[in-house]
């Protein structure tokens, strides 16, 4: 566990970057530090592995005061993923990843094997092993950065705006992979970002910092969106927080309505019909003005987003309903087969029910 006790960082010019921070990072979860620039989130992160030393207060990592630990030794035990990956340009991918194991004195063969294993873990193909960082795309470099941080299997991982330099599409896939990786590894991760959406998506808990280095709110993301502590947090979490907050409300009891379906070549009744493939997965919508027309799969109306029943996310249920051309959101099971329809009204009812449960 990482614990900040009354930690202050004052720079020689008098600026206070972090002001009397008290915070506990839970084991085995992702804790996100988020806030506008100059809020001290990065400084706070860097004080954990002593890239910056605190002016006052104590930081404990697994019960040990970091200031009482040799800085280089401390850092070898903490994974660090830096902005723009920060890979060593003169070393091949496999050697980059093997950095910390080699510093810890592993033999070359073992360090290399571990590096190759991690390349697979983060989704890099083995033929990249002998390439140099400049030969990789930004997203690939960032994966190498993650693999390098994980190489010596440290219990704690610090991630300093790791995905800020890649394009939004790649960023989203890197985020998804981090979540997947974390579900397998269960590391204690501290993640810094200025992007509240990223914070809410990745964090088990989110610490919102305000300018001047003060902690404004430290809560689970659902709570942050539902009940911001003050105007600053309210403003910072931004617009649509009611809608985004739906991601954190789940309802296993959302009613599913029967759905009219048909397959290619079949005749349909008047109105909207969902067309399925042979395995029962939705292909799109067919609209029949008079009834009795044959389904032509080449001319379907594209469907909206899909609601995975297993996720139980009210946000995805509502989005499915709103984005569907027929007004009926398509619910699917784990295999992607259509199992029923959801309506926007049901989401609002489920929301009201969830609020009642919370109040009770």
């Amino acid at each position: 566990m990482i614990e900040f006790r009354g930690v202050t960082k004052r720079f020689p010019d008098g600026t206070v970057a972090v002001d009397d921070l008290d915070l506990q990072v839970e084991d085995g979860g992702i804790t996100v530090f988020v806030g506008p620039s100059g809020c001290g989130k990065t400084t706070s992160l860097r004080m954990v592995n002593r890239m910056i030393d605190a002016t006052e207060g104590t930081i404990l990592v697994n019960g040990r005061d970091v200031m009482q630990t040799d800085a280089a030794e401390l850092r070898r035990g903490i994974g660090y993923v830096i902005q723009q990956a920060g890979l060593f340009p003169h070393r091949t991918i496999v050697d980059n990843i093997a950095t910390v194991p080699l510093l810890l004195g592993w033999n070359r063969k073992k360090a290399r094997e571990r590096a190759l294993e991690l390349m697979q873990t983060v989704g890099l193909t083995p033929e990249m092993a002998e390439r140099y960082p400049t030969q990789l795309s930004g997203g690939q470099q960032q994966r190498v950065g993650v693999a390098r941080a994980l190489a010596a299997d440290p219990p704690v991982l610090l991630m300093d705006e790791p995905f800020s330099a890649v394009d939004p599409v790649v960023r989203e896939s890197l985020q998804d992979e981090l979540l997947k990786l974390q579900s397998e590894l269960g590391k204690t991760i501290v993640f810094v970002t200025h992007d509240i959406d990223e914070a809410v998506k990745l964090g088990d808990r989110v610490a919102v910092f305000r300018v001047g280095g003060r902690l404004a709110q430290y809560d689970e993301p659902g709570v942050l969106l539902a009940r911001p502590a003050d105007d600053f947090v309210d403003n910072f979490v931004g617009r649509d927080r009611g809608y985004r907050g739906l991601s954190f409300l789940s309802s296993k009891t959302m009613p599913l309505h029967p759905l009219r379906t048909a397959r290619s070549g079949e005749r349909t009744e008047q109105g909207w019909t969902l067309i399925l493939d042979d395995d029962g997965r939705p292909l799109g919508w067919h609209h029949d003005r008079r009834g009795g027309a044959a389904v032509d799969v080449e001319h379907l109306v594209p469907g909206g987003s899909l609601y995975e029943v297993a996720s139980g996310s009210l946000r995805s249920a509502l989005d499915a309903a709103l984005s569907s051309p027929s007004g009926q959101g398509v619910a699917i099971d784990d295999d992607g087969r259509a199992v029923g329809a959801v309506a926007a009204d049901d989401v609002l009812d489920a929301l009201a029910a969830a609020r009642r449960d919370e109040a009770a």
Binding site: G77, I82, G86, H90, T134, S137, G138, G139
Partner: protein, 218 residues
């Protein structure tokens, strides 16, 4: 040509002497310039100081240095060590700046990453900063080596000039072939050494010449 064929033994001896006087200072100079360049790169003041002093040293005429050094070093005026020391000073003067430039060209992101991985400062310098400054340092080393090879000839005035002695001797005894042979050989040595350093640089920096990534997604 007849002069050359008749004096092969002398030419061989002078060429070896020339290489010795030219390259020993380059090696010593590089070894000295690395820690000095590192120091220069640590603070702004250190940088200004070292770079100005080394710039100043380089402007001292070589002949004057050969004459000035014996009283300073306590050596005899006709001691070959004077040539070695003088050329080492020039090499250091040239290379301190190059090393400092090379080190400051290393991306701070990379240096920070190395620190965060748990490198101690010395190990980081040897394993990350120095290797990454090789392309810049090597370019400076090529200039220093060529300049040292040419400066050795001035040492002929005090009797230790390698192939430069063919200039003085050829001039005094009026043997133009000897002077021309000396010039050609000095140029040849400079070209060969420069080429070898270029190859050495390539061997040390395979990462510096790899292609850019093909367009593609993560």
């Amino acid at each position: 040509m007849t002069w050359v064929l008749g004096n092969l033994e002398l030419i061989r001896e002078l060429t070896l002497e020339h290489l010795w006087f030219a390259l020993v200072p380059v090696v010593i100079g590089l070894v000295l310039a690395i820690p000095l360049g590192w120091l220069a790169n640590r603070t702004r003041l250190g940088r200004t100081f070292t770079i100005n002093v080394s710039g100043l040293l380089y402007t001292v005429p070589s002949l004057a240095l050969f004459v000035l050094l014996p009283p300073l070093l306590g050596t005899r005026i006709l001691d070959p060590i004077n040539v070695i020391v003088a050329l080492t000073i020039y090499t250091v003067a040239l290379l301190v700046r190059t090393v400092a430039d090379g080190l400051s060209a290393v991306s701070p992101v990379v240096v920070n990453a190395a620190t965060a991985m748990g490198y101690t400062p010395l190990r980081r310098f040897l394993a990350v900063e120095l290797p990454l400054s090789v392309p810049v340092v090597l370019a400076g080393l090529r200039v220093a080596a060529v300049s040292s090879i040419s400066l050795v000839t001035v040492g002929a005035v005090i009797g230790f000039g390698g192939l430069g002695r063919m200039f003085t001797d050829g001039f005094q005894r009026d043997i133009p072939q000897e002077i021309i042979t000396g010039i050609v050989l000095v140029l040849l040595i400079a070209l060969v050494v420069d080429g070898l350093l270029l190859l050495l640089g390539r061997a040390l920096t395979p990462w510096d010449r790899v292609g850019r990534p093909a367009k593609g997604r993560a």
